[in-house]
C-alpha cells in the first residue's frame, strides 16, 4: 500500500536516540537491563544499534578543552564498534575541531551557538567537508512576537528569528536541521508539530524533530502531521519507556515508512 506518510521513494523515517556525554561518559541515567556499564557510550550505542536505531547523536557537554581529547577517543571507539551513522555535537567552533571529529570517524557534526556567533562557520565547514557533514542544531522558543533562537540549552535568548536563521543556514550550506523546541523539551507532551511542519515545508534539507517525546503516539503524530525526516529523543529511550523495536513496529503498522 502506498502511504501518504512514507518518505519519498522508500526513504525511511529515522529514529534517533540522543546520548549526553561528558568527559567520554554518558551522563543521563539509563535503565537498560544487560548493561555492564551504563555510563559507557559505546556499550549504549551498541545496544541501540542492535535494537534498530537508525542513527545516533552524541551531545558532548565536556567543559574543558583538555578533556576534549577524551571525546575524540570516545568517537573513535564508537566508530570502531558501531555499524550505523552517528553525529557528534557540542562545543564545535572551529574547522580543526570538526576535522578531528571527522578523522575520528564521526559521520556528521552538529553546530549550534558557534554558528549563531559566526554564521560564516557554516560556509567554511560545508566547503571543507561537504554539506552532508554539517548539521545545524537550533533551540527555539515561542515568544509573543514569534519563534526565537536560544542558546545554552534555552537559557540565553537571541534576537534571531528561528525561521530566518534556518533559511540563512540552509543557504550557507547546512545539510540537515536538528530542531529542538524548548517549549516542549522535557514536557513529554509530544513534539511541536505545528512549528516542525512549518519548518519542514520551508527547507529542502532533512529536518530532525527534537523535544517533547513522551509516548509512541507522539512519534506517530510527528511523522503523520509534519512528514518530518527523523525524530530524536533521549530519556524515553534511556529509561526503557519506549522500546525501539516496538516503536518501529507500531510506526510501520501506521503506514509510516520505517526500516525494520
Amino acid at each position: 500500500m502506498q502511504s501518504p506518510f512514507r518518505g519519498l521513494g522508500g526513504l525511511a523515517k529515522r529514529i534517533i536516540p540522543c546520548l549526553d556525554v561528558k568527559d567520554g561518559r554518558t551522563v543521563k541515567g539509563v535503565n537498560f537491563v544487560d548493561l555492564r556499564d551504563a555510563g559507557d557510550p559505546v556499550e549504549l550505542a551498541w545496544q541501540y544499534s542492535q535494537q534498530g536505531a537508525d542513527e545516533l547523536v552524541f551531545l558532548d557537554i565536556t567543559a574543558t578543552h583538555e578533556k576534549r581529547k577524551t571525546t575524540i577517543e570516545m568517537v573513535k571507539s564508537v566508530a570502531r564498534q558501531i555499524n550505523i551513522p552517528f553525529t557528534i555535537g557540542g562545543g564545535i567552533s572551529e574547522l580543526k575541531d570538526a576535522e578531528a571529529l571527522l578523522n575520528a570517524g564521526a559521520d556528521k557534526i552538529s553546530i549550534n551557538s558557534a554558528a549563531v556567533r559566526r554564521p560564516q562557520l557554516i560556509n567554511e565547514l560545508a566547503d571543507a567537508f561537504g554539506v552532508q557533514f554539517v548539521v545545524l542544531a537550533v533551540d527555539t522558543k515561542n515568544l509573543p512576537n514569534g519563534d526565537f533562537v536560544h542558546l545554552n540549552g534555552g537559557r540565553i535568548a537571541t534576537e534571531l528569528q528561528t525561521q530566518h536563521w534556518i533559511k540563512e543556514a540552509e543557504e550557507r550550506g547546512t545539510g540537515e536541521i536538528l530542531l529542538t523546541s524548548m517549549d516542549k523539551d522535557g514536557t513529554k507532551s509530544g513534539f511541536d508539530n505545528i512549528l516542525l511542519k512549518q519548518i519542514n515545508e520551508m527547507v529542502s534539507v532533512p529536518v530532525i524533530a527534537s523535544g517533547g517525546a513522551g509516548s509512541s503516539q507522539d512519534f506517530i503524530d510527528v511523522f503523520q502531521k509534519t512528514n518530518i525526516d527523523a525524530a530524536l529523543a533521549a530519556s524515553v529511550f534511556h529509561y526503557g519507556e519506549i522500546l525501539i523495536p516496538e516503536l518501529k513496529a507500531l510506526l510501520k503498522n501506521n503506514q509510516i515508512e520505517i526500516r525494520i
Binding site: S49, P85, N103, G130, Q132, G175, P206
Partner: protein, 198 residues
Amino acid sequence: MTGIVNYGAGNIFSLTAALERLNLEYGMINSESDFDLYERIIIPGVGHAGAAMKKLIDTGLVPKIKSLTKPVLGICVGMQLITDFSEEGNSEMLGIIPVKTLKFKEDISKKVPHMGWNQIFVQNENLLFAGIADETYFYFVHSYYIEFNSKFTISYCNYGTKFSASIKKNNFYGVQFHPEKSGEAGEKLLQNFAHLKI
C-alpha cells in the same frame, strides 16, 4: 587482502573500522607498485567528486587504476569516480563505466542530500549482493546520483527518480550507499566483496 586507494578524499576511519570488525585484512595503496600487494581494491571517497578526481589525478595512480583486472569497489564518491562524468564541478571522471553522475533536483517534497536508509532492488544478479534480499535498507548520504542503466546498474534505488544504488562492469563495482554504515546488510556486502575472485 584488500587495498584501499589512499588519495586523501575524505575520512576512511569508518571503512577500516568495519573491515577490522569483520576480520578482513587490508592495507593502504600509496604507489603504483602497492597494487600488486592486494587481491582486490577499494576506492573510498566522500565530499566533492570534482575535487576528489583532482586529488586522484595528483597521485599519478589513474592509468594503473584504469588497467586493473582485480575486483575494484568504489564507495560513494569512489563509485562516482569510475563513471564518465559528474555534474558536480562538471568534471570528467575515470570513464571506466559509461554512465553519468547527475545532481538531484531539489524541491520541498524531495530533500537533498538524499540522507538516510533507503531500499535497494537487485537489477542484475551478481555476487556482490549474494544473500542480500530485495528491499534491504542501506544508508545513503549524497546529493549527486548515478543514472539508472539497464546494463550497468546491478541494484537500484528510488528517490524521486530511479537511480543506480550500485553499478558493475567487468571487475569494477561501485556502491552509492555506505556499506560501512549500513548495519548487517552493509557488513554482508563487504564480506561478499572480500570473497570475490577474478
